[in-house]
C-alpha cells in the first residue's frame, strides 16, 4: 500500500484537474436542453473505465444512459458493487451563486460547483482509487463493479427498469446475476462533522399516503348549513389527530409490531456523538425540540418511526373571511419506518383507524403513494469493520457509525434484488449545499476519500 499511497500523492493535482473537468459538464438530468452534456458526462466516465482496463458497458435506457463497469475478474475474491450518479440538481437560483455553478472554483480549500459533493466529487474517488491499483499493481485485489446512473435527481426511471429486468437481454444475463456482489458501497452522504468521518449503517423507510375527503357536492354557506352536515375539513383534522394519542404515540394498530429496537451499544454510540440540542434548536429557529418520550434527538431522527403531515388543504385559503363549509379536504402524510415494521400491517391498520374516525356523510379515499422498508446493516457485519479500518487509514480518524432519517431507494433494491447490504461511506459535510446554490466539497476530504477507497479494496480483499 505504500507504493499506492505515494502514487496517489503524486497524482493529487491531476485528480483535481480531472474533477474540475467533470464538474464543467452541466449534466442537469431534468432539463432536455442539457441532454448533450449529460451524454458527454456519461462518455467521460465510460472512457475513464476503458482507460484503466475495466470492461465498461454503456446501457441506453428509457432515460439517461447507465454505465456499468467491472475490474478484471479474480476468481474466488469478494465482489464489491459501487453505486453512484453523474447527474446533478438544477443550479437555480443562479443569482445566489458566488461563482458560476459550472465553472469549478477553488476557495478556502473547497471546490465550489454544482455536483461537487453530490455526487460527482464523491463518486469519482472510487474511480481514482481503482486507477491507482491498476497502474501501481496491475490489478485490484478483489472484484469491483460500478453501477453509475444519470437520473438520481429525477426519479431513476432507467435504473428502475434495469433493476426490474427490462434490459436483461442487453446485459446478456439476469440483472441480479450481472450485479451480484457481496457488499455494496455508496459515497453520497456526509461525515458526522468536520474532521469526523462516518459510516452510515441504517436508513429509515417511508410510507407515503394521500387522504381525500368528500362531503357535500358543493361548497356550502356555513351559516345556512353549518351544524347539520359533516364538514370535511373538521373531519380531516379529527381523523389525522386520532392517528396519535396525547403522548405522541402512533395509534395505527400494529404500527410498532416487530420493531428492531436500538441496542444498548447503539444508544451508547449515539450518545457518544455529543449531539448539541441547543445548536440544533438555534439553527432551526425553534425554542424546543419535541418527539417520542424516552428518546434523544438523534435517536428520534435516525431510529424511531414518525407520523408527519406533509401537506394539508381545504376550503378558502385567501385573504379575509369566507364563510364556506368546504365540499372537500385533503392531506398528504407519511410515516418514516424503521426495520421490522410491516408495510401491509401499517396500511391495513391505517385504513381501519381512519374509517373508524370518519364521520357520517363523509366519503374517504386513501391513496397509497409508495412504501419502502427501513434498512440497517449489522454493526457485526465484517465488511463494516474492514471499511472502518480503510476510512481510518484515509482520514486519520476512526469513523463513527451513524444512521440517517431519510431513505435511499437503491439501498433497499440492493437488499431485495441482490440480498446484500450497503455501506454508506460519506465524504461530504452537512453544509455542502448539495441541492442549493454554492454547492461545495472539501478538496482535502476529496483526497482523503480517494485514499480511503484505495484502502477499502485492500481491506475488503482480506475478508
Amino acid at each position: 500500500m505504500e507504493k499506492i499511497e505515494s502514487w496517489l500523492e503524486e497524482n493529487r493535482s491531476r485528480f483535481q484537474e480531472d474533477l474540475f473537468a467533470l464538474l464543467r459538464l452541466a449534466s442537469i438530468g431534468t432539463d432536455p436542453a442539457y441532454d448533450d452534456q449529460v451524454r458527454q458526462t456519461a462518455t467521460w466516465i465510460h472512457e475513464f473505465f476503458q482507460s484503466i482496463s475495466f470492461t465498461s458497458e454503456w446501457i441506453d435506457t428509457c432515460g439517461h444512459p447507465i454505465i456499468f463497469a467491472q475490474s478484471p475478474h479474480i476468481e474466488g475474491a469478494p465482489t464489491v458493487l459501487v453505486y453512484g450518479h453523474y447527474d446533478v440538481q438544477p443550479p437555480d437560483p443562479l443569482e445566489l451563486w458566488d461563482t458560476p455553478p459550472f465553472e469549478p472554483t477553488e476557495r478556502n480549500g473547497n471546490v465550489y460547483a454544482r455536483g461537487a459533493t453530490d455526487d460527482k466529487g464523491q463518486m469519482i474517488t472510487h474511480l481514482f482509487s481503482c486507477e491507482a491499483w491498476m497502474k501501481v499493481n496491475g490489478g485490484l485485489p478483489l472484484n469491483v463493479k460500478f453501477l453509475i446512473e444519470g437520473e438520481e435527481e429525477s426519479g431513476s426511471s432507467g435504473l428502475n427498469e434495469l433493476l426490474a429486468g427490462v434490459y436483461d437481454e442487453k446485459l446478456g444475463m439476469p440483472v441480479a446475476e450481472k450485479l451480484a456482489a457481496d457488499i455494496a458501497v455508496i459515497s453520497d452522504t456526509s461525515q458526522y462533522g468536520p474532521g469526523q468521518p462516518a459510516i452510515t449503517y441504517g436508513l429509515r423507510g417511508i410510507y407515503y399516503f394521500e387522504l381525500r375527503l368528500k362531503g357535500p357536492n358543493v361548497d356550502l354557506h356555513s351559516g345556512a348549513f353549518g351544524g347539520s352536515v359533516s364538514n370535511p375539513a373538521n373531519a380531516l383534522t379529527e381523523m389525522l389527530a386520532a392517528l396519535k394519542d396525547d403522548h405522541g404515540r402512533i395509534q395505527v394498530p400494529g404500527f410498532y409490531d416487530g420493531i428492531v429496537e436500538l441496542t444498548e451499544e447503539e444508544r451508547k454510540q449515539f450518545a457518544g456523538l455529543n449531539f448539541d440540542d441547543e445548536a440544533y434548536k438555534k439553527s432551526l429557529g425553534i425554542d424546543e425540540v419535541f418527539g417520542e418520550e424516552g428518546f434523544t434527538t438523534l435517536e428520534r431522527r435516525w431510529a424511531r418511526p414518525t407520523f408527519d403531515i406533509n401537506g394539508l388543504w381545504s376550503g378558502y385559503q385567501g385573504e379575509g373571511a369566507k364563510t364556506v363549509l368546504p365540499a372537500e379536504a385533503g392531506a398528504k402524510f407519511s410515516f418514516r419506518l424503521v426495520p421490522g415494521q410491516d408495510l401491509k400491517t401499517i396500511k391495513s391498520g391505517l385504513e381501519k383507524l381512519l374509517a373508524e374516525n370518519c364521520p357520517p356523510g363523509i366519503e374517504m379515499k386513501l391513496i397509497d403513494m409508495h412504501g419502502a422498508n427501513g434498512v440497517v446493516v449489522s454493526l457485526d457485519n465484517p465488511y463494516m469493520k474492514l471499511a472502518a479500518n480503510a476510512v481510518e487509514k484515509g482520514f486519520g480518524t476512526k469513523p463513527v457509525f451513524t444512521r440517517s432519517g431519510g431513505s435511499i431507494p437503491v439501498v433497499l433494491s440492493f437488499r431485495e434484488l441482490l440480498g446484500i447490504d450497503t455501506m454508506l461511506l460519506g465524504w461530504g459535510l452537512d453544509d455542502d449545499n448539495p441541492h442549493s446554490p454554492n454547492e461545495k466539497f472539501s478538496l482535502s476530504d476529496f483526497f482523503k476519500g480517494i485514499k480511503s477507497s484505495a484502502w477499502l479494496w485492500n481491506e475488503l480483499a482480506a475478508k
Copy 2:
C-alpha cells in the same frame, strides 16, 4: 283597505313595468365600471320617493350613496324602519344565463334578471305599497322610514360609517335619532317554500378566526428531521380537533354558557314544518346528516351553535409526494352563535384551549376576524303577530315562523344602535339563485309582497 287593494290590482302591470325598468340598471356595486348605473339606480329610488311626497335625502358616503326617505310625519304613531339595498351581485358567469342578466324577461310566471329577488324586487314592494297609501288615502297610517344602501354585496362601507355616526352632520342629528323607530322590516329572505310564506325571527351570530402556526424557520426534509421537532401541520390538526370532543360538543370553556334554549313552542313549530331530511341529503349529495345529538336538522341549522373549519393550508398541495416537514400551517374557522353566548368569553376560552394544546416548538397566532351576536325576536312581540296578519292578508296563507342559520349584520346594528327588533319578511324562494346565474323572482309573489306590505302599514298602525 278595500280601495287600496283595488288600486293595487289596477296598477299591477305598471308595478311590473317599473320593476323591469329598475332591473335594467346594472347596479353592480363592486365594479367601478358600473358606477354610473349605480348612481342612476339610486336616483331612480330618490325620485320615486319624491314623487310620492316622501322627504328623500341623498347621502353621499365613502362608498355608494345611501337614500334615506321618510313618510309625512304623524305625531304619536308608531315608526317602522325599512332597510333594503339597490346594488346587485356581479352576474358572472354570463354564459350560464338563459337570458341576459340586465334584460329582465318574463318566463313561467317569474321575472329573470340580476337583482330580481336580491334585493330590488323585494325592496320595491314596500315603495309601491307606500305609493298606494299616499295616492288612495293621501297619507300613511304610521311613520315609515326607508334606509336603502348600495353596498350590501360589497361590505357596506358607507352604511357602516353612517351607523358609526360619521355623517351625523349631514343628517342634522345623531344617526340613532335619525333612524329612531319602533320596529324594523327587511324583505331580503325567502318564504319557507312555494305557497308557504315565512317570517324569520332569528339569526345566528358568528365569530370568525384565523389561526397561524409557525414551527421551524424553513421547510425541512421529513426524513432528516421528522420525529425530532413539532410539525405545524400535525399541531394544527391536533389543536383544531381538540376544539370538539368525541360527541361533537365544543370544548371551548364557557362556550355554551348563557345560551337561550329553544322553547317547547319553537321546537313544536319547527317540527310542524315537516322538514324533509331525505330530500335535504339528496340535494347535498350526502348519505347522512350529522350534527349535535338531540336536535333535528332544522334546529341544528337555525338555533344551535357550531364550529366549522372554513379553510386549511400547509406544506405541499401539488401532485405526487413531497417529503416536507412544513414550516407553517394555518386555518380559518368560525363559530355560529345563538343568543346568550358571549363573544369575550368565547375568545378568551378559545385562546386558552388552543394554547393548552399547542405543542413545544410551535408559535401560535390567533387572529380575531370579526364577531357578531345571534339575535332572536320574541314570538310574543306584538309587532310579529301584526306582521303575520298582514302577510296572511297578502298571501292568503298564515306565515310560519322560521329562523336562519346565517347572519345579517344590519339586524344586529339596529338592535345595538336603535334598540329595536327586525322582522324579516321574505317574499323570495330558496331556488331564486340570488348569487348565481338565472336569478328570478315570482311575479305573483312580487304582487303578494306589495299587498302584504300595504296591509303591514295598516296592521302596525293599529298597535
